[in-house]
């Protein structure tokens, strides 16, 4: 466990620990006898001898609150813990083994939930007689099934995870798999369950004690104190305050502790937090550079994007420039983490809150002929453009469709968001669009929900929505990566066909697949850790690369006849640890000392080609 984790745990741990220690130390503290009755001092307000006052029998409230904590905490913690252990065991076994074991464990535990809680408690009391011990047994039985359910559901999900199957494949025994692999991974929701159970056990304890089923008066417990104070609420309202404060305070501290524990137990740590205000302000800042010639469709100039803010901000995209002409298909290719997707999202103003534009321009010339800088356009203006002149298709079609609406309605909605049409007319157009993107039996499928379509059909529906308003620029981010090759071929053909029909639509196709690029694009931009390293017409760039990274990527495509694939050594450097000078130098076969001394600039080679390599002439 790291220091920062201890830091997070310190406060809630100290509070809960303090409460428990206070209760445990009750016999050692100089407290008044909690059951000593002094009827003459009934309901006296706080005084020097009795800091919190005296109750309806004149007993010292402070003493009763601390002694009462013993009963309340012991009952609720023990009950929650016993229920937790038993319920978790049942849930783990049931979820892991399924079948008969599931019936014997989870299902029979759930049968308990059918009994009214009070009836169940009465039953236990009749068998065991009243007292704190009985209360613990009754509450444990009552709460175990909910743990069993949570553990069961989590185990079901976990048992098919690859790393659990991996343990099985290693030949590990079931017990070892359950304890070492499944349990730690299902623990976080169970911890939350624990804090909820303790809280609700404290509340139930008071109810059951009142019925004479739990802690027996005159022994103190917070529950009994609340009960007692209720009847004298008019004369002595503070008597209600103390036990309630103690109860809520303990529950809040406990919730905080469980939350902190859950976060600390998550090995992935916490994410950078955004500063929306800074992002907002930087969006308002005017461009300082002189206005350059407007592009025919889109030109990105020296775009910089940063993740997070302050000194820890990561420069995810640096000095990216690219242009798309009307009717052109530009592929943006690069490995994961190269900044392809962020660049695409920046164009549509859809950057996630942690990412902001720290420099550069995104000039777009609209249908009406005016040129705007999309990087500085306000959200309302962007929203008018999005889905109309500019649109986007994402990698995962199911994430782009709303699961509770019919696909036809979703396409129709996109049309009506930008066009003043009747619902019927929009729906008619939606069906025509679905037919155009090759959804078989479009009129019927328009009424289908997304889950009723296959992945390929969903992607067709998403494309239908994207082209619904005849966009001038379509950005497709890995639209075929999640699909099978035969379906990918269908979608690529569809996109090529749509572009041919909708003369003038520009397409930015983001992908990591070089072969797909060569099938669909006119020009290609190759990106590496947030920078453009090479640009030019596809056939030329792939045929005779002018950057060692492009050359290595092309060589690593498994199409040649050699037995060994050609691999790029090393790994993509992380953004927080970029190499000095040329970012590719540590993996580059041509690297020389000058390469690490200074970062090479993007150099134009003529013929629409450019490269960011000082030794491009030597690239084979």
């Amino acid at each position: 466990m790291e220091r920062r984790d201890l830091h997070r745990l310190a406060v809630p741990l100290a509070v809960v620990g303090g409460i428990v220690a206070l209760a445990a130390a009750a016999p050692l503290l100089p407290l008044a006898d909690p059951v000593h009755i002094e009827v003459s001092a009934r309901l006296t307000p706080p005084s020097e001898g009795h800091w919190l006052g005296q109750d309806e029998y004149g007993r010292d409230v402070l003493s009763r609150a601390i002694w009462g904590a013993r009963a309340s905490l012991a009952v609720s913690f023990l009950a929650a813990a016993i229920a937790g252990i038993a319920g978790t065991a049942l849930g783990l076994l049931g979820g892991y083994f399924r079948g008969v074991v599931e019936i014997l464990t989870v299902r029979s535990a759930e049968a308990v939930l059918c009994f009214p809680p009070l009836l169940l408690a009465l039953l236990v009391v009749t068998l065991l007689g009243p007292g704190a011990g009985t209360l613990i047994v009754a509450l444990s039985i009552l709460y175990a099934p909910s743990y069993a359910r949570v553990a069961y559901a989590e185990t079901l999900a976990a048992r098919n995870l690859d790393y659990v199957v991996a343990q099985e494949a290693l030949g590990a025994r079931s017990g070892r798999i359950l304890l070492r692999t499944v349990l730690p991974n299902v623990a976080p929701p169970l911890l939350v369950q624990f804090s909820l159970t303790v809280a609700s056990a404290m509340v139930l304890e008071s109810g059951l004690s009142f019925l004479g089923l739990g802690v027996v008066p005159p022994e103190p417990s917070w529950g009994l104190m609340i009960r007692g104070a209720r009847s004298t609420m008019d004369q002595a309202p503070w008597l209600l305050l103390w036990p309630c404060l103690a109860l809520t305070g303990t529950i809040v501290a406990l919730n905080m502790l469980c939350d902190a524990l859950r976060d600390v137990l998550d090995p992935r740590g916490r994410t950078v937090s955004a500063n929306p205000f800074r992002a907002f302000v930087s969006g308002l800042l005017p461009a300082t550079e002189p206005a350059p010639a407007p592009p025919a469709l889109l030109r990105v100039d020296g775009l910089h994007l940063a993740i997070g803010h302050g000194p820890g901000a990561l420069p995810a995209v640096r000095d990216v420039s690219l242009a798309v002409a009307p009717g052109e298909t530009l592929a943006v290719v690069g490995e994961s983490g190269s900044g392809k997707t962020l660049t695409g999202l920046a164009i549509l103003g859809l950057l996630p809150p942690v990412v902001r534009v720290t420099g550069g321009r995104i000039l777009y010339t609209g249908r009406d002929g005016t040129t705007v800088d999309l990087a500085r356009l306000g959200e309302p203006a962007l929203r008018r453009l999005r889905g109309d002149e500019l649109s986007m298709v994402f990698q995962d079609p199911s994430a782009s469709l709303n699961p509770v609406h019919r696909v036809g309605d979703q396409v129709a909605e996109t049309i009506r968001a930008h066009r003043d049409l009747s619902a019927a007319e929009a729906r008619r157009r939606a069906v025509a669009l679905l037919d155009r993107v090759g959804l078989p039996d479009a009129a019927r499928r328009a009424r289908a929900y997304p889950h009723e379509l296959s992945g390929g059909q969903r992607q067709r529906a998403v494309i239908a929505a994207a082209i619904a308003n005849g966009p001038r620029l379509l950005i497709a981010d890995e639209p075929t990566t999640a699909l099978d090759v035969t379906i990918q071929a269908q979608i690529l053909e569809l996109m090529a066909g749509l572009k041919a029909q909708a003369g003038g639509m520009g397409l930015i196709f983001v992908t990591h697949n070089l072969a797909v690029v060569s099938e669909i694009a006119d020009r290609v931009v190759v990106m590496y850790v947030g920078e453009v390293v090479e640009e030019g017409p596809v056939a030329e760039v792939f045929g005779s690369p002018r950057h060692p990274y492009t050359a290595a990527l092309v060589a690593s495509v498994p199409e040649g006849d050699d037995d060994r694939l050609s691999a790029i050594p090393g790994v993509v450097p992380p953004l927080h640890d970029l190499p000095a000078g040329c970012r590719f130098a540590p993996r580059c076969g041509l690297a020389e000392p000058a390469c690490t001394a200074g970062a090479p600039a993007l150099e134009s080679l003529g013929g629409g080609r450019s490269t960011r390599c000082r030794r491009w002439r030597e690239v084979a």
Partner: protein, 332 residues
């Protein structure tokens, strides 16, 4: 006991007519249907042989891989490992046998326990099978890490501190820790970037060579399979539709599905031929497969004869190839 010569001649892994059905319910109240994920598959893997299993998602590749390791029980047919029928050996003896057969997964993020150090996870197999004391295991973990090209000092790190390609190396190290002679790799490079994919494919090829592993390499990418495998089995809708030497199938695919699969795979060197229409339609539901040839709903050569009976896998072309298509001889 079988003699050494015998055990060389028997294949290491032998699947005979294995099928696997899954129970599934359609909708909340819908009736139960059986999904036939794998149907009557015969497959043998010789010692030191690499066999590729290719096909699109849902065709049953992963299910077949798990059947070969007896991580799933077949609903029909048998799987033999080193001459022993896996379904007949139970409990402890099967667990002991697991030392010799391992699985590598597709998703390098999901296949490692996020809460335990990679060193501990690599050591698991050795400790489970009592192959090493904890101290010895630690030493062997360092050796395995450098064998797969990672820094031995990284044993104490958690999985999230590694990149996808590095995690896949960790997963490979874990699979190799028990000294297996049979490994099923289920799309081990599909989630990786091309440059990293090449590193991992090369690593697998080297390890297979140096350790003499028998390998079943599952992939949807024929190109990758060709680099690694001697033999290929192409699956469609739970059945093997074509099998034979990798080079021969790649050079001249015979089954209409294999042809379509190769044609649909985008290529850097050959630009898309616009006259060649992509395969229409989608994979039929495995709970309701078409009668006769499973491919007939999408096959450009389908005739009425194709609907009548399931075409059996039959020898074709004399290069050790088998094809399940009634018209394979005609369509040339």
């Amino acid at each position: 006991m079988t003699s050494a010569a015998d055990s060389c001649r028997t294949p290491l892994v032998e699947a005979e007519g294995v099928s696997r059905a899954f129970r599934a319910r359609q909708g909340l109240l819908g009736r139960r249907r059986d999904i036939l994920a794998v149907r009557e598959v015969d497959l043998t893997v010789a010692r030191r042989e690499a066999v590729g299993v290719v096909g699109e998602s849902g065709c049953g590749k992963s299910t077949l891989g798990r059947l070969l390791l007896h991580l799933l029980k077949p609903t029909a047919g048998t799987v033999r490992f080193d001459g022993r029928t896996l379904a007949e050996i139970g409990g402890d003896r099967l667990r002991t046998l697991r030392r010799r057969m391992q699985l590598i997964f597709q998703d390098p993020y999901g296949s490692l326990d996020p809460r335990r150090t990679v060193g501990d996870q690599i050591a698991d197999g050795m400790l489970i099978h009592g192959l090493a004391t904890p101290a010895e295991a630690r030493e062997r973990v360092a050796g395995l890490l450098s064998q797969v090209g990672l820094d031995p000092a990284h044993a104490a790190r958690l999985p999230h501190e590694f990149s996808g390609g590095q995690r896949q190396r960790v997963a490979i190290a874990r699979a190799l820790a028990t000294g297996p002679d049979f490994v099923v790799a289920d799309e081990p490079v599909s989630a990786l970037d091309v440059s990293i994919q090449a590193q991992v494919v090369n690593l697998l090829a080297d390890l297979r060579e140096s350790l003499g592993l028998a390998l079943v390499f599952i992939s949807h990418d024929l190109h990758v399979v060709r680099h690694l495998c001697d033999r290929v089995a192409v699956m469609y809708l739970g059945r093997v539709v074509e099998t034979g030497p990798a080079a021969a199938i790649f050079a001249a695919p015979a089954h209409p599905y294999t042809r379509a699969l190769l044609a649909a795979t985008p290529s850097l060197v050959r630009r898309r031929d616009s006259s060649r229409a992509p395969l229409a339609g989608e994979l039929p539901s495995p709970s309701d497969p078409p009668s006769g040839c499973g491919f007939r709903t999408r096959c450009p050569f389908a005739t009425t004869a194709c609907a009548e009976a399931v075409p059996p896998l039959e020898a074709f072309g004399g290069d050790g190839r088998q094809v399940a298509c009634v018209r394979v001889a005609e369509i040339g």
